[in-house]
């Protein structure tokens, strides 16, 4: 059975869905951040697949930028987690809900 675009995209879709599930369901903010990384990775996989399918290098360049954004996001995100933990002694997303009405 030849492996084609569909296979790679399917894998990407599954990993992305798992990431979404993690973001929506898990209470530990660190795991939520990891799930976001999973989603970004799934997107990267899709980009590289498109690049391969179309024969253009642009997709891989975008992956480079996505990684940059991911790195920045993790740095700032983890910094916020740190101070949030310092202030409230918790990593539970459910308890970080003071910014409301």
């Amino acid at each position: 059975m030849p492996v084609g675009v569909s296979h790679y995209l399917a894998v990407s879709a599954v990993i992305f869905a798992v990431g979404v599930a993690g973001v929506l369901l898990r209470r530990n903010i660190l795991v939520v951040l990891m799930s976001i990384e999973l989603m970004l990775n799934a997107a990267n996989l899709a980009f590289v697949t498109f690049s391969r399918a179309s024969g253009a290098v642009g997709g891989q360049i975008v992956v480079l930028f996505v990684m940059t954004v991911a790195a920045a996001e993790v740095a700032v995100g983890l910094a916020i987690v740190l101070i949030a933990f310092r202030a409230r002694e918790t990593t539970d997303v459910d308890e970080m809900n003071v910014m409301k009405w």
């Binding site: 979404v20 973001v23 929506l24 369901l25 939520v32 997303v93 459910d94 970080m96 809900n97 003071v98 910014m99 409301k100 009405w101």
Partner: protein, 639 residues
């Protein structure tokens, strides 16, 4: 100098600005100097303009200074134009001259008042507004000045707004004036609709060209304009605000409510003489209202005991004479009386102010008396002014009032003249009643009499001189020429043809009397009034008391001013107030507030429900992001 006529307006306005922005920091001395200085300079410029106009040929004495285009919308065009012709220049002279003297007087009179700067700011603003009114080259500029003087009048009547009567009087003046102003505004709108322009020259020439004498449209316009004049110039039925306006500082009463602002109506009627002469009906209304007011107000003045109120009724009465003159077509004479009246009425008020000042606020004439020796300058000034207003030869009022009565006799017949003469008799009587009660007899007051400062005496003397000799500029029997009439004749050149035609057979035809003999008659009337007053109040002071008891009912009617205030109160004020209260209670509080509060309640409730969406939980938000993502994807797939 005519090119720089705008200075006449700019100077007082600069005074206003200076008082507002610098007056607080630089102190009272600066305020006095600035306020008096700008008005004085304005007077100087007016004199220069007057002289320049005088040097021209009579037919060319008409100068328009275009300053800016105010409105330009399609065919609707209004210019900001100053009009300098004999009428407006004469008015400018009177206004700025009297205003200057009263500014000087005020520096003495208001010296101890905490609102000194505010007072002079208002006074300068008033001078500016009044000059705008008389110099305006079209109806809209006139209207601006008209409303602005009304505002200043309101501000100055209520100057001591801590006192409830003063605040009430200010409101009353404003509201009553508004009624007249409404008619005036309608008149202006009707003029625009009819002629398509508001410029004086175009309107007047258009009226003469397009409309026959007695046209309904012109009558309507003239009557609406006159409605405005009755409000501003305190004529029946809108005069009630003026006596109450005496709550303001006395120099204000002198300047605004005697010498200048209240004559704006006369000025306006004279300015629009081209319209009025086309409508015999409107002229008749003007004459009747003027005559009725003259006699009516004089009769009230006979018995009042408040010094300033007597003068206020006297003002109303004299304004009535001016309208009578206009109504019989003698516009120039009306303006002449306006001028002389400005001198002697301002003087009377200023003396009243000096007396009140000297007696520390006492205004009741029954509590004065015997001030002749203590306040000699005031006494002699008052005497001159009283002789002038009574119409004794050769004081200013004699020439103008005698001429009004003469013109009346000539054009409207002896009955109207007789009524006017009765008014003149009463005028002489109540003025000398004042004089005797205040200055003669025994002192009925207690306490020290303050001597007036120089700044108060100086204007008194100036105005006394003017009251004494100011009438000579219109004394044809002495000089063979009537200077005022000649000077004003270019403005009123269209009048004679119209008025003379209809009225001559009524007057001169049947009663062949010479002007000289009528002058003798009117002086005799004045002297009769003076003698009566002397008899009543000096020789046998118990006569008034007996008369009062004998004619108790008549007395109480006069004393209570014919109950007009009460009648107005029942007929208009109370129904309006209860109607407004009903509107407030039911319409405003229930319906309008209900709608406002209801919508606010609705929004609040909706917000209270929808703010639950803001849970603060990040994952709830993420959920909605996913919903959006799914929706977008679905949209692309199903497209």
């Amino acid at each position: 100098m005519l090119e720089h006529a705008w200075l006449i307006l700019a100077l007082p306005l600069a005074g206003v600005a200076g008082n507002i922005f610098l007056g607080g920091r630089l102190g009272r001395r600066f305020v006095s100097a600035l306020s008096c200085g700008v008005v004085g300079l304005s007077f100087v410029v007016s004199v220069a303009c007057f002289l320049e106009l005088l040097a021209m040929q009579p037919a060319q004495r008409h100068f328009e200074r275009h300053i800016f285009t105010w409105f330009l919308s399609g065919s609707f065009k209004v210019e900001g134009t100053l009009l300098l012709d004999p009428l407006s220049v004469l008015m400018t002279l009177v206004v700025s001259g009297v205003a200057f003297l009263i500014h000087v007087y005020s520096t003495g009179y208001m010296a101890g008042d905490s609102g000194y700067r505010r007072y002079f700011t208002y006074l300068n603003l008033f001078t500016f507004s009044m000059l705008t009114l008389v110099l305006g080259g079209n109806f809209l500029v006139l209207y601006v000045g008209w409303e602005a003087v009304g505002l200043c009048s309101y501000l100055l009547i209520g100057f001591w707004f801590q006192k409830k009567p003063a605040a009430d009087a200010g409101r009353k003046a404003f509201i009553v004036n508004r009624i007249g102003d409404f008619g005036f505004a309608l008149g202006i709108l009707l003029i625009f609709r009819t002629f398509g322009t508001l410029e004086f020259g175009e309107v007047f020439s258009g009226a003469e060209r397009l409309f026959p004498s007695g046209s309904t449209l012109i009558t309507g316009i003239a009557l609406l304009l006159f409605a405005g004049a009755t409000g501003k110039s305190a004529q029946i039925p809108l005069y009630t605000w003026l006596p109450d306006a005496m709550e303001g500082p006395t120099p204000v009463s002198a300047l605004i409510h005697a010498a200048t602002m209240v004559t704006a109506g006369v000025y306006m009627v004279a300015r629009c003489s081209a319209l009025f002469v086309l409508s015999p009906l409107a002229l008749a209304v003007v004459a009747i209202v003027g005559l009725a007011t003259a006699v009516y107000a004089a009769s009230i003045g006979l018995v009042q005991n408040d010094l300033k109120r007597v003068l206020a009724y006297s003002t109303i009465s004299q304004l009535g004479y001016m309208f009578l003159a206009c109504g019989v077509g003698a516009f120039a004479v009306g303006i002449f009386h306006l001028m002389t009246h400005a001198f002697f009425k301002a003087l009377l008020f200023l003396v009243a102010g000096a007396v009140i000042h000297a007696l520390a606020g006492e205004q009741d004439i029954t509590k004065m008396g015997g001030l002749r020796s203590k306040l000699p300058v005031s006494y002699w000034s008052f005497l001159i002014a009283a002789l002038a207003i009574a119409g004794v030869f050769p004081f200013a009022g004699f020439f103008s009032k005698d001429e009004i009565l003469w013109e009346t006799l000539l054009r409207r017949g002896p009955l109207v003249w007789a009524l006017g003469a009765v008014g003149a008799l009463m005028t002489a009587f109540y003025m000398f009643r004042l004089l005797f009660l205040v200055f003669h007899g025994t002192a009925r007051h207690e306490g020290h009499v303050h001597a007036p400062p120089f700044s108060i005496k100086l204007p008194l003397v100036c105005l006394a001189v003017l009251s004494a000799v100011g009438g000579l500029v219109g004394a044809p029997l002495l000089f063979g020429r009537h200077f005022v009439k000649e000077f004003l004749s270019p403005v009123f050149r269209h009048v004679n043809g119209h008025v003379a035609a209809g009225t001559h057979e009524a007057g001169a035809g049947h009663f062949v009397v010479s002007e000289l003999s009528m002058a003798v008659v009117s002086v005799s009337i004045a002297v009769l009034g003076i003698v009566l007053a002397y008899r009543f109040y000096v020789i046998s002071p118990d006569v008034p008391q007996r008369l009062k008891e004998r004619f108790a009912r008549l007395y109480s009617i006069l004393f209570n001013k014919y109950y007009v205030d009460e009648i107005y109160d029942t007929l208009f004020v109370r129904p309006l107030v209860s109607f407004a209260t009903a509107l407030w209670r039911h319409v405003d509080a229930l319906i309008i507030d209900g709608a406002v509060n209801g919508s606010a309640f609705l929004v609040e409730t909706a917000s209270k429900v929808s703010r639950r969406l803001q849970t603060g939980g990040v994952q709830n938000y993420a959920l909605s992001i996913v919903v959006g993502a799914i929706a977008i994807l679905a949209f692309w797939l199903l497209r």
